[in-house]
Subunit: 136 residues, 2 copies
DNA sequence: TAAACTGTATTACAATTATAGTACAGTAGT
DNA sequence: ACTACTGTACTATAATTGTAATACAGTTTA
């Protein structure tokens, strides 16, 4: 499931953070689902358990998971850890960074808008489909 | 102009890279404009010239600036360094990351689309204004 | 209660980052 | 030619960061 790319450049623990954030955002794992124990995931990825622990610590800090020491690590309830101002600031910063990157890659604003909105539409359809299939 | 935040977490040389990329994308500096000499910028920011040099090296690698050793460092001509596939891959990855972040901050897709398109519209207006004012 | 699991803390080591100093080579203007 | 500027290269050093190995403490389950 989670994969490490040694040539990625970004630290291993951040690669884990990114992928788990993606799994949470996409609904692949949900509230109170248990994450693999640090030793299990570490063995799968052939890395040190501490590296996984560091990733979990970071995710806990961001409020996406919670750990019960001795018991396990679980996906946290969707909740608001930041003020509206802070949330808006974070997302606007990300948007700004995306636009800068796009411009420096010679995308026009129109092209960027098109690619972005297409992706959003696709996800939106996926999510409404899933809503309709909720039978568990 | 360029500012270093010691509490930013990201390395100084990357903070410089990010800010210069922004200045290029926003049109604050343009083709063949000269960047401050490494020693000058280093003195302004109270850092080592080597750190600035490292930032310039990174920007040159990304094709955004060019250096004429002995002469100075300049903003490069907008050109395509990557294949269309590569450009698309990079920008789609950034978009994906933005959407994940937004979802984990409890923004709906609609909210994200709204914030994003508002920002894009604002920039678009700025740029068309500048086009109209080009008198240099 | 005992065994097998969980995350955590401590320590050590390697890689990266930042700084500093020095020297070098190319360019520009006088 | 000379001077003052440019970026570059190199070495060394310190601090931070990322990873690893080991031991520890709490929880679960039988």
């Amino acid at each position: 499931m989670i994969k490490i790319d040694p040539n990625d450049g970004t630290p291993i623990y951040l690669q884990i953070v990114r992928q788990i954030k993606y799994m949470i955002a996409s609904g692949a794992i949900r509230e109170d689902d248990e994450l693999p124990p640090v030793r299990v995931l570490a063995q799968q990825l052939v890395i040190n358990p501490n590296t996984v622990a560091k990733a979990y610590r970071e995710l806990e800090f961001q409020g996406l998971i919670y750990t019960r020491p001795g018991a396990g690590t679980y996906v946290a309830k969707r909740r608001i850890l930041f003020s509206d101002e802070e949330r808006l600031r974070i997302i606007q910063e990300k948007i700004e960074s995306l636009i800068v990157e796009a411009q420096n890659l010679n995308f026009t604003l129109e092209e960027l808008a098109k690619i972005f909105n297409e992706r959003l539409t696709k996800i939106y359809k996926q999510q409404t489909e899933e809503k309709g299939n909720e039978r568990d």
